[in-house]
């Protein structure tokens, strides 16, 4: 998300050369304001943002003027304003003193509450908790069923005494759910409620009744990242009506402009706590304002990438590979296979690539990266004998033909993989003596993306200093 905004920022920054006059700074704030409105940021919030930015420019005008690289200074100011508007520090989940910790989910219809309830539960479970899902959306046909299915597939207990479809009392269900959780010693309760508009007084009262009956520790407002100007109004209505503690953004994997995020935080003063980024139950992460700001401004999110790599690659395996490396042994297909395994644990390639800096312009290629390429590669390697895996040199024509039959791929594909592998091996040899091997090194990365990466780097080198500063991150 935020690609449109990111691209606008990049083009605005690239227009800054050398000394920057006050008039240019004012114009710059105006341009940013328009870019924000175009990205669905509420008018009021966009106005405030650009006013605050102009104020920051004013306060720092001396520094901007004497700076050798004014663009860099301006970048820093915009970045800090963005982080501030996105909520500042990362908000973490609050635990109740006496479990269970009760979380109430609210939001408009179609924001993705039920799907999110499952993701949140799974997230908590992975952290060693014992969450319980409570089906208190008795409005939408088969919302209860949907939650049951979601819970079942994630291995999460679901409390659903009513079939829903318009019948039953959500207050009673929520209360009974808490009691059930206490009895069965669940340390988290997630209450899914019916979607409602901010101006439906009847439904608003219903959720207030649920809130008062169960006194949740956390109330989350779930909102679709594609929401437009209405986000500010609706968030305000929910904030004044039910009140909420934090925001959860859904459908961040689309090409949403994401302005809603800024609007809601600014209008309600409540931070974004989680973001849901895909259709899989594991596509769910803590929201970090600083990292998001960095992504908006085209610097990627290396911190998240590193975290994911660390959690996906077992320390032992990494160490083993490193030792092997140090001893001067060859990188083999066997090692490659274990790396593929680790990468699978890290999540989809397209998502990982999206975290790299400078990939804003490659959105489409990244989105359409063929994940099954990895599956095919695996099939080929798994069709090799241990001897072949450890000594790729023995791969003659008849062996290749056999592997092709075994993996159901064409011989040309086997040849291509072996060639790419040979190059990777060479690369690893050159890297030897350096630091730990990169998990991605063995993979013949998609040539198109690799090329455009190189190109964009070259461009920024020969281009103006402002743009270079932004892209290279000095």
């Amino acid at each position: 998300m935020f690609e449109a905004l990111g691209q606008r920022f990049t083009s605005i920054f690239s227009g800054l050369r050398g000394k920057v006059s006050q008039a240019r700074l004012d114009q710059f704030s105006e341009e940013i304001k328009t870019a924000l409105i175009e990205s669905d940021v509420a008018l009021e919030v966009a106005n405030r943002f650009s006013a605050q930015l102009a104020e920051k420019f004013n306060q720092n005008s001396d520094e901007i003027n004497i700076s050798i690289n004014p663009a860099q200074k301006i970048y820093e100011l915009v970045n800090s304003q963005l982080v501030q508007t996105l909520g500042g520090a990362t908000r973490r989940l609050k635990y109740a003193k006496n479990p269970p910790t009760v979380i109430l989910l609210t939001g408009l219809q179609g924001a993705g509450k039920t799907t999110l309830a499952g993701k949140l539960a799974k997230y908590l479970k992975n952290d060693g908790n014992t969450p319980l899902l409570v089906a208190a959306d008795l409005q939408r046909p088969n919302a209860v069923n949907q939650l049951k299915v979601v819970g079942e597939s994630a291995g999460i207990a679901v409390f659903a005494p009513e079939v829903g479809n318009g019948a039953g009392d959500p207050v009673a269900v929520a209360k009974a759910g808490i009691k059930y959780a206490v009895d069965k010693v669940h340390n988290f309760v997630i209450v899914d409620t019916a979607g409602r508009t901010g101006i439906d007084d009847l439904l608003m009262k219903q959720i207030i009744d649920v809130r008062d009956a169960i006194t949740p520790d956390e109330i989350f407002f779930v909102v679709d990242a594609m929401t437009g100007q209405d986000a500010a109004k609706t968030a305000k209505a929910f904030s004044d009506g039910v009140g909420f503690d934090a925001v959860v953004l859904t459908k961040l994997d689309g090409d949403a402009r994401g302005g809603a995020a800024l609007s809601i935080v600014e209008m309600t003063g409540k931070p974004i706590i989680f973001a849901s980024t895909g259709e899989k139950i594991s596509d769910f992460t803590l929201f970090h304002p600083d990292r998001m700001a960095s992504r908006i401004l085209g610097k990627g999110d290396i911190a998240s990438l590193a975290e994911q790599a660390k959690s996906a690659i077992p320390e032992q395996a990494a160490q083993k590979l490193e030792e092997k490396f140090a001893k001067g042994e060859d990188f083999t297909f066997e090692d490659f296979l274990s790396q593929l395994e680790a990468m699978k644990n890290m999540g989809s390639m397209s998502k990982l690539m999206g975290l790299l800096p400078g990939t804003a312009g490659m959105k489409k290629q990244i989105e359409n990266f063929d994940e099954s390429e990895l599956v095919r590669t695996r099939a080929i390697i798994e069709s090799m004998t241990p001897l072949e895996r450890n000594n790729p040199k023995v791969l003659n024509g008849s062996r290749r033909a056999r592997i092709a039959r075994g993996s159901g791929r064409a011989v040309s594909e086997i040849n291509a993989l072996v060639d790419r592998f040979g190059q990777a091996q060479k690369m690893m040899k050159q890297m030897r003596g350096g630091s730990m091997p990169m998990p991605m090194a063995g993979l013949g990365s998609p040539p198109k993306i690799a090329q455009s990466n190189v190109k964009s780097k070259k461009k920024s080198r020969s281009g103006n200093p402002a743009k270079r500063a932004i892209e290279e991150g000095n």
Partner: protein, 278 residues
């Protein structure tokens, strides 16, 4: 803004004050019409030097309206197929049910197809609606190939000489190319047996400028014939729907405005445009 100031000075427009234009600009932007379109619209309205700004805006917006038929096409003597598409959470399943109810009230025979085999319990959701309306639903196993569900449905509809087959499809973010291809396959499978008469894109009124991207991609993938704007019962105005109508010449056919089966009304231009200006 500078462009705007220049315009203020260049055109001393009728008796309408700058303040009033600015107020209109704010409402239009807040309706999600988009900044560019809003400014374009206001400039056009100003050139007419109107006495009443809102009337002038209404008149201009009406010029944008598509000339296409806003009713659901019907060819007697064969099954007419309607495909309902859109991103996740816009209200496709509810709209499918409402549309079936609406067509049934016109004394047509209806068959529903639950080709949303991805979202947990989506089939049951449509089934519950169908039971209320009293129409039949064809569905497959969970995670079945949606195209196979569509195939069974159109085969059955033709056999039973049904007037309308309404196909509910799985929500998909338009950025997922392989999912869009899957949708194209659903369309092609049906077309092999019978023409697809309508492809209705469901757009949530709360959607921002992303609605334009949604329209562009769905048009490319399955050739949309009209729009349904949902959730107009909230505070959102659905301005992006009008932007889509103008940009792609696609008529808004229906407006959804609530959780009841009857909360679907044919597009009312007057009411919709007034809403944008509120």
């Amino acid at each position: 803004m500078s462009l705007f100031k220049r315009l203020f000075n260049a055109i001393k427009s009728g008796s309408v004050s700058d303040n009033e234009w600015e107020e209109i600009r704010v409402s239009l932007i807040e309706s999600d019409l988009g900044v560019k379109l809003t400014d374009e619209l206001i400039n056009m309205a100003k050139t007419t030097k109107p006495a009443d700004a809102k009337e002038a805006i209404m008149a201009e917006v009406k010029k944008w309206l598509s000339k296409d038929d806003r009713t659901i096409k019907f060819t007697p003597g064969r099954t007419n197929t309607i495909l309902v598409v859109g991103v996740n959470g816009t209200g496709k399943t509810t709209s499918t049910a409402k549309l079936a109810f609406h067509l049934k009230s016109e004394k047509k025979t209806i068959l529903l197809a639950a080709a949303d085999t991805f979202r947990a319990a989506a089939v049951e959701q449509l089934q519950t609606w169908a039971d209320r309306i009293g129409v039949e639903v064809v569905h497959g196993e969970s995670n079945a190939d949606p195209a196979s569900v569509a195939f069974s449905a159109i085969t059955k509809a033709k056999e039973d000489q049904i007037d309308y087959l309404v196909v509910d499809t799985a929500g998909r973010l338009h950025t997922k190319e392989n999912l869009m291809q899957e949708l194209g396959k659903v369309l092609r499978v049906i077309e092999k047996l019978s023409p697809v008469d309508e492809v209705l894109l469901v757009i949530d009124a709360t959607t921002g400028q992303n609605g334009m991207n949604q329209a562009r991609v769905f048009i490319e993938a399955v050739g949309v014939t009209g729009l349904i704007i949902t959730k107009l019962d909230g505070s959102a105005k659905g301005g992006v729907g009008m932007a889509v109508e103008k940009e792609f010449g696609l008529p808004i056919k229906y407006m959804g405005s609530g959780e009841q089966i009857s909360d679907l009304a044919p597009f009312d231009a007057e009411r919709f445009i007034e809403g944008l200006l509120e």
